[in-house]
Symmetry: none
Subunit: 210 residues, 4 copies
DNA sequence: AATGAATGAGCGTTCATTCAT
DNA sequence: TATGAATGAACGCTCATTCAT
């Protein structure tokens, strides 16, 4: 028997290490954004929350802007995955699918991350072009899921009507963030509001006129 | 002929001066908040936008917190006035009143001030207790107007149902800020969206079941 | 008969009012100096402690320097009065007089005012010429009292010896401020220390050799 | 023969640089404290005296408080070394030791550093808890040296008497700072005052009664 | 005798960024 | 990859002082 020569650390190792550090940093960045808000979002806070030196953080994310953009990418990516999984997990009946969709998104508003993250995103989108882009893309994908189901529920709708309905529905849901989100006064009414919302949305979808 | 009563010396001259300066500052503060966002909202920026020295600004608003709170008070006050005037200007038919109300609020979302101010407010409310309070109070007054009309449209509704419907409606409208606001891609769809919204809301109000 | 012209408010009235305000301010200044130290001694703090506007304070004391000098004058004046009264109240026997003197000054060190005021004075005297002058004058008068008694106790002493002994005694007593002053760890040992001090000082006075 | 242990690479190069900068800053801080007094002791003054940017100073001493505490540590450390060296250098005869001790401390009062530093320290100790602590510790060590010699001179003394005598002696010496210190009017009388002091202190030590 | 508005400098502190190692 | 030293600007705030009223 013989001892194996100690494996030269595969070149990927460094990349892995780098990726690990980057992820640690992104995770810390998210928590700073959520706990402290963008107006308190600083490289130093993130570095300290990540247990990393400022210098090292800036090796991975050279400027604050890059860090911010990466963070938005990262966070938004998760919501896109959520939409995709909701779409996949739904059954056959389009109305059932729709109800599940609305319920899923609505309930997500209750989570601290969503409650705290989106208002920051909306504010940022008003002041930073790159955030605007990312947000618009995300909501477009969000609506794409909605649109598919809407079309199935009422196939007679014009494409532009479908677009509008998807916008109305998604915007209406988003608007509840500030009221039924984590720690908000109406949080406990979430279920009943879901019922109102679902019925109203279905009514709109099924009306020919819009 | 008779001597005029000695003109009350404009005793408030100083106070007037102070009020003028304060208003200039508040106005500048609003425009900084809107143009640059809260994360760029600094005493120095506001002072410079107002054409006032930092020292003088802080004579009138001793701390940044006071300035911020005054600004929120000032801005929110304007929305409260808007709600009140909408309520007063409405006619007799409750459905017509409701339609006017929804239309009024929806259209206000298109204004730059509203588009830019509210996301800042929502973000702030997540991180500053005093902003939370002001925002909650404002929305409560907003809903109070809605609730009156809802009750008239469907008098059979339980009070708790009225509350929930008012919340659903106001939240849904607010959610459109990010999509149909000033400079947003869906701005031109505002009218059609108002139609969808109004009908859906009326449907919800007239359903017994919520 | 004729009505008397309404008495012009005796000119002194205004002066009295002014004096009252000045005294209020000086009192407040003293308490700021004692509670907060000279490094926190600001016109604004004094004005606020006195319940007076900054503008009015500066009507009475045009600059911070004037206020400071007046404060030192005022405080030191009280100590001079104390020395004078101690001298007067003493009996005939010079040793008894001396003991009473040492005891009186020593015990005064326990008072909060003295404990807190003198270190500020010493520091100030190192950096502000006017404070140096005032302090030197005060200690000269202090020693003058001591010297009279010393001479009576030991008439054979040369004048320069008397001077030196007075200095040694006064300096030694002053040095205890930091240790037995108000709130200091050795405060409770004051009486026993007075005994040691008195005996040592008398020993020095009665030695021919200094 | 054996291989030399691999030279530790001067790993501390960076640290050395940092240490150098820190020392430059501390030195500048001391001179600001002495020349300008604590009430003029500002980070900016120290930075400028050290030829260092404010930002860099605060990299090494993150807050003013840390800088101040470090400065006190640094300065007080030097006095502790002085006490230790005086204790070690003294000969055998306890009275001779005592005389040398008193003379050494007394003469140190003449130095500019001591004259200017201690009044600041006393003032600080009245207003900043950490300064109080440092000062009390220093004087305790100071007295420890005195107590040893006192016990040897008069072994019959109770411990509490030794404590009190050490306090009386050290306090009396300290009190001379303001009168015989650097640039003070009585500076030239230092020697003669040392004689009076030494004799009086010895008298006190040799009395059974305290 | 008193007030209130305004200025401009300085304060302690945080920050994004650069760079040498 | 990672660290630590340094810069320079901006921040919120306090201050002494001036001046019109």
């Amino acid at each position: 028997m013989f001892k194996l020569a100690p494996m030269k650390p595969a070149l990927k190792t460094q990349t892995d290490k780098a990726r690990m550090t980057s992820e640690t940093i992104l995770h810390a960045a998210e928590s700073v954004m959520i706990e402290a808000g963008y107006h308190n979002f600083s490289i130093r806070r993130v570095a300290s929350a990540a247990g990393v030196t400022v210098g090292n953080l800036q090796y991975h994310f050279p400027t604050k802007d890059v860090l911010l953009k990466s963070l938005l990418d990262h966070c938004i990516g998760r919501y896109l995955k959520m939409f995709a999984s909701i779409r996949n997990s739904a059954g056959n009946d389009p109305r059932r699918q729709f109800e599940a969709l609305v319920k899923g998104i609505f309930e997500d508003l209750n989570s601290k991350n969503t409650t705290m993250f989106f208002p920051e995103l909306w504010s940022l989108a008003n002041h930073e072009a790159s955030a605007t882009q990312l947000m618009d893309d995300m909501y477009a994908q969000y609506r794409a899921v909605l649109k598919e189901v809407i079309k199935e529920i009422n196939p007679k709708l014009k494409p532009s009507s479908v677009d509008r309905l998807a916008l109305f529905i998604s915007a209406s849901i988003e608007g509840h963030t500030v009221f039924i989100g984590h720690g908000k006064p109406w949080q406990k009414q979430t279920k009943k509001l879901i019922k109102i919302a679902t019925q109203s949305f279905l009514f709109a979808i099924e009306s020919e006129e819009f």
